[in-house]
Structure formats: C-alpha cells, structure tokens
Symmetry: C2
Subunit: 224 residues, 2 copies
C-alpha cells in the first residue's frame, strides 16, 4: 500500500486533506508541529482527527530562537473583526509566520524519505487564505520542484508534493469534507485559544463564511 505524509494542523483544511489522501488509497502518516503557537487546542484536535481517520501521527517540536508573527508572539495583537473582503484585500497579515509552510514541508519531506512515502499532502489553498505567500500555487509548485530535485526519492521520481485544495474555495472544501465524512466537530480554526472560537479573527470569519456558503451548520468544537 502506497504511503503518504500529510501535514495536519487540527484545522479544517488539513483534516479534509487527510481524508482526501485516505480516499485516494494512501496509508496516511500525519505530521503535526508544536512551534510555540498560542495554544495547544489545535494539537489535541489534530490527534483526534488522525485517530478517527486511522492515520499514524508524529509530533515535531520546533523551538526557533526568534519570533516574527502574532501567532507565536504573545505581545502582538491578532487582527480581529475584519470582513472576508477586508481580509482578502488586506495583503499579508501579521499572523503570517515567516516561512512556516516551507519549514513544515521540508520536515515532511525528510519524514517521507525515511518511510519511503510516495506523496506529501498539504491542505493549503489560495482563496480565503488570508494572503499568506506560502499558500499560493506558484509557491507550492516551486516546493514540488525542491522535492523533485533535492531528495533521493524525488530524483528517482518516487515522491511528489500534492496540494489538492489549492484552487478550492472554503465552501467547496467543506462540501468535499462532508462527502468524505470528516469530523468537523474535531477541527479547530480560531487563532485564539480560548474556551471556544472567538468568531472575530480572520480564521473564524473565513470558516463561518465557508459553512454558510456550503449551506451547512458548523458543528464547531464545543465550548468547554
């Protein structure tokens, strides 16, 4: 059975990607990261999702001796109360974590080589992506070339990067996930780590819009 390494964050997009990879016949190996993000809530969600999907899961702890994003810097404010249009037109927000997806993908590539996986899956998508540079097709195609030229398996044409959600809208991703049986109640999107989603950060706003457009009620993580 061919293997896939899947980046899992505990959020909605990566959960749908994991189920998508399983649906494509892959034996799935999830990787999640603890990189000093504000809360451990999403890590708990990732573990539940992997378990529900029957995937193995590896946790990688990353302690980088510098900061540079409001998602990992307690002193920086997280943008709040913006409409989906303001988010789309606002450029790169302060929640951008420098080179985050590149770090995640490079470590996923290392893991993929060590278990001889055939594919690396990432759930990035351009639409509704808050303007992060590392969620664009051009970037992911470049990273695909890094895998093809800079790894042993890539050079043998045995490892490729897959980003199946890249051109989908949030509503389409939710519809796809519904069809695949993704447990949305175990996904966590909020940038803040309170006892329930804040409803006002960019991520909450985009999630709410997606569920609304998909004509589905959000079975969000229950408040504790």
């Amino acid at each position: 059975m061919k293997k896939a390494v899947v980046l899992l964050s505990g959020g909605l997009d990566s959960a749908v990607t994991l189920y998508y990879a399983r649906d494509k016949g892959y034996d799935c190996h999830a990787v999640m990261f603890d990189y000093g993000q504000r809360h451990g809530r999403e890590l708990l969600c990732a573990e539940k999702i992997a378990k529900a999907c029957g995937a193995s899961i590896k946790l990688v702890r990353l302690e980088l001796p510098w900061k540079g994003s409001s998602l990992v810097d307690d002193k920086a404010p997280i943008p709040s109360g913006r409409s989906s249009r303001e988010i789309k037109e606002g450029g790169i927000p302060s929640t951008y974590v420098p080179a985050r997806n590149t770090i995640f993908l490079s470590i996923a590539a290392s893991y993929a080589e060590s278990i001889r996986a055939s594919a690396i899956f990432i759930g990035a998508h351009t639409e509704d992506s808050s303007g992060y540079p590392d969620c664009r097709a051009e970037y992911l195609e470049s990273f695909g070339k890094v895998v093809a030229t800079g790894t042993k398996l890539g050079l043998e044409n045995k490892l490729k990067l897959e980003f199946p959600l890249i051109r989908k809208k949030k509503a389409e991703i939710i519809e796809l996930g519904r069809g695949l049986g993704v447990p949305f109640e175990n996904t966590w999107s909020c940038y803040k780590g309170a006892d329930g989603p804040c409803g006002t950060c960019d991520s909450c706003v985009l999630r709410a819009k997606g569920f609304k457009e998909a004509g589905m009620e959000d079975p969000a993580v229950e408040r504790t």
Copy 2:
C-alpha cells in the same frame, strides 16, 4: 548595513562562505544546527569560526522523531576508505540525511525574515559533494524560487538565496578561503567524531585531495 543569514556547520565550505559573505559587505548572522549528528565537535568549531569572523550565531536544536542516515544513526556504518573517484561515481551514499539542506534552508529563511536580511548563504557545491541531491545547482535554484514565491521578503524582491561555491572544486574553495583569511584550523570535516580526523571517510578524503591540489598543508584541528 545589509544583513545575511549564513548556514554554518563547522566544516570548511560553510566557513569559507561566511567569510565570503562578510567580504561582500554583509553583516553576517550564522545559523548552526544540532540535529543529532554523531558528535558536537563541528558545533564547537562553528562557534569559533563565527566568533573569529565577527558574526552572530544562533543554534537551532532539531529533534526529529525518525532517522534515516548514517550521520544520525549510531547503528549504521559510515563509508570508509573510498577514493575520491569511487566517491564521485558511487551515487548517493548512506551519509545522505533526508532533506537536510531543505530543512536548514527553510529555517534560515524564517530567521532571515525575522531580522529582515537581504540574503541567505549556503556553501553547498556539486564537485566533490559525495553525490548528495541537495548540493546541486538545480536544487538550489528551485529553493531560490521557494524563497522568491513563499516568503514575504521574497515576494517583495528583498531576499535571495546565494550559493557562491556551487561550481567550485574543493581546491578552489580552499584557495578562496586562504585569500579571505579563513581559520582552517578551526574547521572540522570528518564524519566521525573521534579525537582527530579519521582520514578515511569520504569527507576526510575529499578534504585531503582539496588541500593537496591547492598546494597547501591542512592545518587541521589538532588531536586532543
């Protein structure tokens, strides 16, 4: 003064690259990695080199929960006693660490963004590189595109990847370093971490050949 992030390993190539970047007018910020390599000898060397060059230095500890290379796996043997020709023709050796340079470069890109550096330097070179896929021009050009498309500074055309040694032979690198005043006595190339260089691993063989061709005696780290 424009800033550069320079990958520093404690080896000869990265030391020359650091001095090269300083010579090009950069305020240099070295990054070194502790990724479970067999010995800490090269880390001590890296610290000495950075200090001598007047560069700041950051140590990043990486503990990945998998292995896959003889450089990080105590049970796997390190190839020994091969000639430089056998090394060149032998394909990718067991000392290849899966996606190592990609992980290092991605973390360097994150650091570069956090200090608003203009360049990331890596001392990789194809000739005498033991056949590692991530020491080839095609790979580094691909990673340069990842920086250009997947980082905020890259998108603004303010951050680029530099690999000035890529087409140089070891002897040329040594000659370049001599001209720049690189303290070769503080560089460590041996894959084994004994009290002195083993003289028989691929790295020792290629270093000896380089010094010989450069017509220079190797002021290698003294045996302790």
